[in-house]
Structures are given as structure tokens and as C-alpha cells.
């Protein structure tokens, strides 16, 4: 499954939001969750991977999920991406 989400955090996905995305993704142990942005695809369960995408406010990122609870994972990770954590 895949869906696009828009970054709303004014500072972009810096360390704290990236950590939150990674923690949420890791709750879905049996799902593969990736983020695709600007032609690069990384695991949402890696804070390093998420950070290296360099996503800014207003950017759209595609979340791709497979495996158990793919639909729940998609929405859960997406809502963290769209939330504003500073």
C-alpha cells in the first residue's frame, strides 16, 4: 500500500520528528515500512534513513507499507509525518 503525506512541521523532519517516525514505524514489527522521497527510498524504522531524506515543510513523501497491519501502519506513520513536533 502507498500514500502521500505532506510535511507540516515548520522545521522539516529534523531529529525529533525523525525519531518519532522511527518509533511509530518500529511498533509494527511485522510490516515493512519505507519512505520514498526525491527518488530515494529508506526504511522508516531507521532514524538515520529518515533524516537523510532531508524533508522540509511542504514536501510530500510517499509512505509504502507491506506485510501485517500494512493499512494501520500506513495511517499511523502518516499521521506522525503530518504532525507538528518541535
Amino acid at each position: 500500500m502507498e500514500k502521500q503525506f505532506t510535511i507540516k512541521n515548520p522545521q522539516g523532519i529534523h531529529a525529533r520528528p525523525a525519531g518519532a517516525i522511527m518509533k511509530k514505524a518500529s511498533e509494527f514489527a511485522n510490516a515493512q515500512i519505507s519512505l520514498e522521497f526525491n527518488g530515494r527510498k529508506v526504511s522508516a524504522k531507521s532514524i538515520t534513513g529518515v533524516l537523510t531524506l532531508g524533508m522540509k515543510a511542504g514536501d510530500s513523501v510517499t509512505v509504502i507499507t507491506e506485510g501485517e497491519q500494512a493499512a494501520e501502519a500506513l495511517e499511523a506513520v502518516g499521521s506522525i509525518i503530518e504532525s507538528v513536533l518541535d
Binding site: 522545521q11 531529529a15 531507521s46 532514524i47 538515520t48 533524516l51 537523510t52 532531508g54 507538528v84
Partner: protein, 579 residues
């Protein structure tokens, strides 16, 4: 000698220089015997474990000293050290290439740093320092070379370093470090952000300060201007000693006012809000104690691109500000104010002889209903989430106001038909920048919910003096009685109709102007975020009834210098708060 850098945290630090020598652990590649590869991988993992334990301690100390918010960065650093794609890769490298742990870690770190430093956004580029920081910590465990401790100092020094990592900054002992200066970094580096929270004056981006400055040099660090004075003369030193004392007293006082209402000593409450130019600024507004946003300039959405922003993009930007500040906080969104000195290449407007008197702002929007409606739809949709108010710029006539309101009504009807939610009671106001509008404010007031006086343009139009032209800059006089009388007309006209009047020009944050404006009855003051707290401290010391008298006298004076002098004589607090 003077060095110029980037102002990172305001305040003044005076003391001897201490140069923190960079711990450039030179790591050499060493081949590991096949039999020892497992042991080497374990050595790396153990160093990582120890680094995590240290970070855990720093995290707890920081939470206790600076609050949970600042400790979170270290929680993130711990997550980074647990990450398969970082440490996992370094361990993998030890095994696959049979190399030493230090080299493997350095290689993997460098690859990540390269990714960050190639990004086009300064904020993201700074993230390289997070990885440098954690990697350096693990390396120092591996090599046994630890940083010299700052606790060896006996007096407060001005610390110079190539760079300070977040953990360096968080563990700085405030009694030993009066301020710090770094060769690299920007305003959004973690160390700069932390310096502002810890209230350690800091200048960053000084390039080669660690080479120019010698240990023990007498240093004045001016964190407001972003400069370093090396071995200043006695007179300069004494001037800065006084500025430092004044600044610190003011800081102490301002801290008490961050959460307080903006209320005069005799109980008259006004609203202090911030001017912002993009959604990111909303954080700064909140952190500086602003009660909301009195002017959200929307031009940023349209500039630096080659086509109009979509409704969706605009909706996200407006909603972000509401989310950042909270749904109850007022956010006044000004519709597109393009033209004048702000050009949009893709709008393809012909060059004009007098752009400030030409085709700009609402004059364009009333012609280009398509782009105006897109913006109105986005603002209306965002109004469903918070306390958004809509404001038209550059209205000169009643007919223009009515035409704009007509398009707003059409847009609302469209949203109703589509079943899209918006705040039906959203306040709609206009800026008063054109003298014609100020003069007919009594008529306009009947058809708006509020006025916001844009003094920068109102002054230049009233005085007929281009504010960019140095030859006539002496006529840019916000305190001129002509301008003050117009301001009074606008405020009185609003109040007569039970509406409120605000101001969103530079004058609203001017400490000398505030007593006069309060005396004239201004209800809302919108200014740059950093002016909010000084303004609030001042307002809390003032007495509204006395200011009414002061304003009356000011309006009868002949010259703007006389008015400024009058304010300084009657209200000594103004000069005490000026830096």
C-alpha cells in the same frame, strides 16, 4: 581587532579567551587479522554501549538543568547509536573489510555527513553535526582520548572552538563559560538554539577565530551584533561592561513577562502579537511570548517560484501557523501584497514609473479574481481550525472594500455549496496604509471588523517621501504630528463603531511610540517577535490615563523630535528598556 560572525544568542560576554583545541582524532586504516574480526566488532559495540550510557547521563542532567525539551536531542542521539543503518553498517564494515573499528565508524559517519552537507536547506545541513557528535563520542571511547574538561577553568572565559556539539554545549558550566564563539555553524545550529535557551551569549560562523585569537586575549563578545572584539581599549571595555549590566537586568525582568498579559499598571489590557513572513516564524513568535500573529505576510508563498501556489499549498501553510500557535490564538492573514517593491516574474506585470503608486496588492487581486479566490478559499478552509482573521492590504476606497467583500461572499457561497467547512464568523478587516483610507476611516469602519495601521506605507504616502530614497529620508517621520493625527482618526473611527484598531508597522514595536499609541487607544500592537517582551515590560509599567494626556500634548506639538523628547522625559522607562 574586530571579528564578524553570525549573532547566535544575544547578550555580552567579557573575559579571557580560551581556545578549545579540536580533537581531530586522526584515524588510520588498519587491517585486522581474520581471527580478530569478531573481537574488533565487539570492541566497537562495547564502545557504542558506553557512549550510550554517557548520553543517558547527559540526557538526565540536561533535563534537570534545562528541561525535558532540550534533553530530547540526546534521546535522539541514543536512537542513532541503536540504528542498524548507522552503527550496524559500521560493524558490518569491520567484518566485511576486516578493518579497525575506528576506521569503519569514521567511514560510515563521513558518508552520512556528506549527504547532509549537500542538502540545500541550512537547517538540514546542520544535522550533520548530530552524527559528528555521536561518532566523536564513540571514537573517543575507542581511542581513550577524552576532551579536556572545562571544569579546569578558574574564571569565566570566552570559549573559542571550531564547532561545539550539542553535548559540548549542554554540558557547558555557566559559571565557567561567559560566552562562546565558533568558526562554523549558523543561527539554527543546535548549539546556537541551546545557547539561546541557556542564555549564553554566542557568536558562530567566525570562520578562523580559533586561529586569530590566542589563549588569554581579552575578549568582548557581542551576541546581539555577532561580533568579537579582541583586546579592546579601556574605554570600549567600560562601555561594554555597562551595556552588559543593563542587558542582564532587562533579561531578568523580561523573563517574568513571557506568560503575562499585556496590561498597563492601571488595568488596561492590549494585545501584543507578532509579524511573521512564513510558517516557520510562528515558533519564534510563540517562544518570544507573542499572543498570536497580527500580520502574516503571505508573499513568501508566491515568491521564488515560477507559478502560482495551489490552494492546497496555501491551506497547509495557513493551517501550520494555527497548529503551531494553538487554535485560540489570533492569526491575522493578509492577502497578497505584491507589486510596489515586490515583483512576481510569472505575473508578467509591466514596469511602472511609480510602482508604489501603481498596480499592487488589492488592486491586482480585484482584477485577478482567479488568484484572489484561490487564496480566499485556502484562508477560509484554514479558518475552520483556529482563530484566523482575514485582512486586505492597500484599500483606498469604500468601493474597493465592498468589491473585495463581494468576492469573499462568492467564495463562501462556493464552499457552502461544496459542503466545505470554514469559520462563518471569521473577522474581516483591512490595513490602513493609504491616507485616503485613514481620512474616510469613519465610513470604512462600518463595513469591517477591524483596522490594522501599516505605518511604513502610511508614513511614506502621507509625507510623500520614498522611504528608500536617502535624499528624502529625513521626511520619513513616523512621529510627525500629521501621521499621529491620522492614526488618531483611524483609532477613533474604529472605536466609534465598536471595532478594534491595531498596528502592524515597525512603529508598533518602537518603545518610544508605544506610550503615545497607548494614549491614543490602540488595541493591538503587532511587531517583530523579538520586540514583544520589551514592549510588554514597558506596557506593564505604564499608566493609561496619564498617557491619554501625553498623547494629546504630542498631537499639538510641531516637530517629531519634540514629541520623542516629550515621551522620553515623561516616561523614563522607555530609555531604560532601550538597548
Amino acid at each position: 581587532m574586530q571579528l564578524k560572525g553570525i549573532a547566535a544568542a544575544s547578550g555580552y560576554a567579557i573575559g579571557p579567551a580560551f581556545i578549545m583545541q579540536e580533537q581531530t582524532t586522526v584515524v588510520e586504516r588498519k587491517q585486522i587479522a581474520a581471527a580478530d574480526v569478531d573481537a574488533e566488532a565487539t570492541r566497537l559495540q562495547q564502545a557504542v554501549n558506553q557512549a550510550m550510557a554517557e548520553l543517558e547521563q547527559i540526557k538526565e542532567d540536561t533535563a534537570a538543568k534545562l528541561g525535558e525539551h532540550h534533553a530530547e536531542i540526546f534521546a535522539t542521539h541514543i536512537l542513532v547509536l541503536q540504528d542498524e543503518e548507522f552503527i550496524g553498517q559500521a560493524i558490518e564494515k569491520v567484518r566485511s573489510e576486516a578493518v579497525n573499528a575506528e576506521f569503519a565508524l569514521q567511514e560510515v559517519t563521513q558518508q552520512l555527513i556528506d549527504i547532509f552537507t549537500s542538502m540545500d536547506n541550512e537547517y538540514m545541513r546542520e544535522r550533520a553535526s548530530d552524527f559528528r557528535d555521536v561518532s566523536q563520542r564513540v571514537l573517543s571511547v575507542l581511542t581513550g582520548k577524552r576532551n579536556a574538561s572545562l571544569s579546569d577553568f578558574h574564571e569565566a572565559v570566552v570559549l573559542f572552538a571550531h564547532d561545539l556539539t550539542p553535548s559540548d554545549t549542554a554540558t557547558l558550566d555557566r559559571s565557567k563559560v561567559a560566552g562562546f564563539a565558533t568558526n562554523i555553524g549558523g543561527r539554527t545550529s543546535h548549539s546556537a538554539i541551546m545557547a539561546r535557551s541557556m542564555e549564553i551569549p554566542a557568536v558562530v560562523g567566525l570562520q578562523s577565530a580559533t586561529e586569530t585569537v590566542k589563549d588569554g586575549d581579552m575578549i568582548i563578545l557581542d551576541g546581539a551584533k555577532g561580533i568579537i572584539l579582541v583586546n579592546p581599549d579601556a574605554e570600549t571595555l567600560s562601555t561594554y561592561e555597562q551595556m552588559k549590566a543593563k542587558f542582564e537586568k532587562r533579561q531578568e525582568e523580561m523573563k517574568l513577562y513571557k506568560e503575562k498579559p499585556s496590561i498597563t499598571a492601571d488595568g488596561h489590557e492590549v494585545e501584543l502579537v507578532a509579524n511573521i513572513g512564513n510558517p516557520q516564524d510562528a515558533l519564534g513568535a510563540r517562544n518570544n511570548g507573542a499572543e498570536g500573529v497580527g500580520l502574516f505576510r503571505t508573499e513568501f508563498l508566491y515568491m521564488g517560484r515560477d507559478s502560482f501556489p495551489t490552494e492546497e499549498e496555501q491551506y497547509h501553510s495557513y493551517s501550520t501557523v494555527v497548529e503551531t500557535l494553538g487554535a485560540d490564538k489570533p492569526v491575522v492573514i493578509r492577502t497578497l501584497d505584491i507589486g510596489g517593491d515586490k515583483e512576481l516574474p510569472y505575473l508578467e506585470l509591466p514596469k511602472e514609473m511609480n510602482p508604489f503608486l501603481g498596480y499592487r496588492a488589492i488592486r491586482i487581486c480585484l482584477d485577478r479574481k482567479d488568484l484572489f479566490k484561490t487564496q480566499l478559499r485556502a484562508i477560509l478552509r484554514a479558518s475552520a481550525h483556529g482563530n484566523i482573521k482575514l485582512m486586505y492590504p492597500m484599500i483606498s476606497t469604500l468601493a474597493e472594500l465592498r468589491a473585495a467583500n463581494e468576492i469573499l461572499k462568492e467564495t463562501q457561497a462556493e464552499l457552502d455549496a461544496e459542503g466545505i467547512a470554514y469559520n462563518k464568523n471569521m473577522e474581516v478587516g483591512m490595513m490602513i496604509e493609504v491616507p485616503a483610507a485613514a481620512i474616510i476611516a469613519d465610513q470604512l469602519a462600518k463595513e469591517v471588523d477591524f483596522f490594522s495601521i501599516g505605518t511604513n506605507d502610511l508614513v511614506q504616502y502621507t509625507m510623500a517621501a520614498d522611504r528608500m530614497n536617502e535624499k528624502v529620508s529625513h521626511l520619513t517621520q513616523p512621529f510627525n504630528p500629521a501621521v499621529l493625527r491620522l492614526i488618531r482618526m483611524v483609532i477613533d473611527a474604529a472605536h466609534k463603531e465598536g471595532k478594534w484598531a491595531g498596528m502592524c508597522g515597525e512603529m508598533a514595536g518602537n518603545l518610544t511610540a508605544i506610550p503615545v499609541l497607548l494614549g491614543l487607544g490602540l488595541d493591538e500592537f503587532s511587531m517583530s517577535a523579538s520586540s514583544v517582551l520589551p514592549a510588554r515590560v514597558l506596557i506593564n509599567r505604564l499608566n493609561r490615563d496619564e498617557l491619554k494626556q501625553l498623547a494629546e500634548e504630542a498631537l499639538m506639538m510641531e516637530h517629531e523630535e519634540d514629541i520623542q523628547r516629550l515621551v522620553h522625559e515623561r516616561v523614563p522607562a522607555v530609555q531604560e528598556l532601550m538597548l
